[in-house]
Amino acid sequence: MGKKIQNQIKIVVAGPYAAGKTQFINTVSEIETVKTEARTTKSGEREVKSHTTVAMDFGKITIDDEHTLYLFGTPGQSRFDFMWDILGKGMLGLVVLVDSTDPSTFHEARKIINFFESRYPAPFVVGCNKQDLEGAWDPEDIRTALDLDESIKVLPLVALDKESVKNVLLALLEEIAKYI
């Protein structure tokens, strides 16, 4: 008997730098997240270093003998939108993360949503990370800042907390169920 072919299922976790996507993936992944990001040495700048042709993180969750769910984390900066294009194709759904304590990440998140919505309109949810920190914005205010209506789930999230990450993934799967 030959080895069974593994079907790869893809969920994309997008978000600005430091929104917590690597942590989000790490929290539920069976493997240590494969990281391809590096922080810039310039203080105060939110950029990733330039060996970026493979700029993404990924983790995996085995579903059964034939299926593996991959969680791909994309960099948020629009100069990496070629990666968004590659990862957007064939994705099951999208999780967009924002740092609830940093409104500047809302703008970047909105750009990411704009990109995917106009090219790969898959089901998506927004995870408002760092809700455990002082100064975190309310998810409903973040919804308004992102110009999202009530049909999109905008959820509180603490990416360090397994149940919180599972809650966001399950919410995305609920959305996906509406379209199959």
Binding site: I63, L92, P103, K111, A136, A177, Y179
Partner: protein
């Protein structure tokens, strides 16, 4: 929870949009090295602006009439004071902001005079390319008018060119198509759309059909759900 940040990355339009959406009452504090403003909101509209020497002064009084008394301002003077202070506030481009919901108590005879929609549209006409790109970052975006767009547009006091642009927003045309058909410059169009979005005159077009990029069966989806629940 907090509504706080830095004006350089989150401008007044963005702040006003959030406060108007939930018709919030409270005080917005805007401060930089030189100035400290307290902006009093009622139902998401600006009622009064005062400059203070120290931020804690703002929280000495919970009764708005008491605040006016201290500033020697009568209710009849509110409009004049607001018109005088508004340009000073809106000229602040750098600094911190934070909004404290509630706290201040307004009597029922005090109502906002200038609709926030008008202020938002005024500000949107001055946005830079970098700022408009934050919201209107893609020429393929499609917008539609909201249910109460007429009422909001009236409050916003749109210019002729903005009215023309609004006519083209129909839930079908992309930003690019509007630009071509209305024959307007991209920045002008983006500024108008940014303002329309912030005032609530338009919304993003709702996706009726979303595409799941994998041949997913209900059975497999159930397996994925169970697997994630079990992590």
């Amino acid at each position: 929870m907090a509504i706080a940040g830095n004006l350089e990355v989150f401008n007044f339009i963005d702040i006003f949009q959030i406060l108007k959406k939930d018709k919030k009452d409270g005080i917005l504090v805007v401060e930089n090295e030189n100035k400290k403003f307290a902006v009093y909101f009622k139902g998401g509209d600006i009622l009064y602006i005062r400059e203070v020497g120290k931020v804690f002064y703002i929280y000495l009084d919970v009764d708005f009439k008491k605040v006016l008394e201290k500033d020697h301002v009568s209710i009849d003077d509110l409009y004049r004071v607001l018109v005088a202070k508004l340009p000073l506030l809106l000229a602040v481009k750098k600094g911190k902001f934070s909004f404290t919901p509630g706290f201040i108590q307004y009597s029922s005879d005090i109502e906002p005079i200038i609709p926030i929609e008008k202020i938002i549209m005024y500000l949107s006409r001055q946005l830079s390319q970098e700022e408009v790109d934050r919201k209107i970052s893609d020429l393929n975006l499609v917008f539609e008018k909201s249910d109460n767009w007429r009422q909001l547009a009236q409050k916003a006091h749109l210019t002729d060119i903005e009215r023309k642009i609004l006519n083209y927003v129909d839930g079908e045309r992309t930003v690019k198509q509007i630009m071509e058909e209305a024959k307007v410059k991209q920045l002008t169009l983006q500024r108008a759309l940014y303002g329309f979005l912030a005032t609530g005159i338009i919304t993003r077009k709702k996706k009726v059909k979303r595409k799941v990029g994998f041949n997913l069966t209900r059975n497999l989806l159930r397996k994925i759900v169970e697997r994630i629940k079990g992590i």
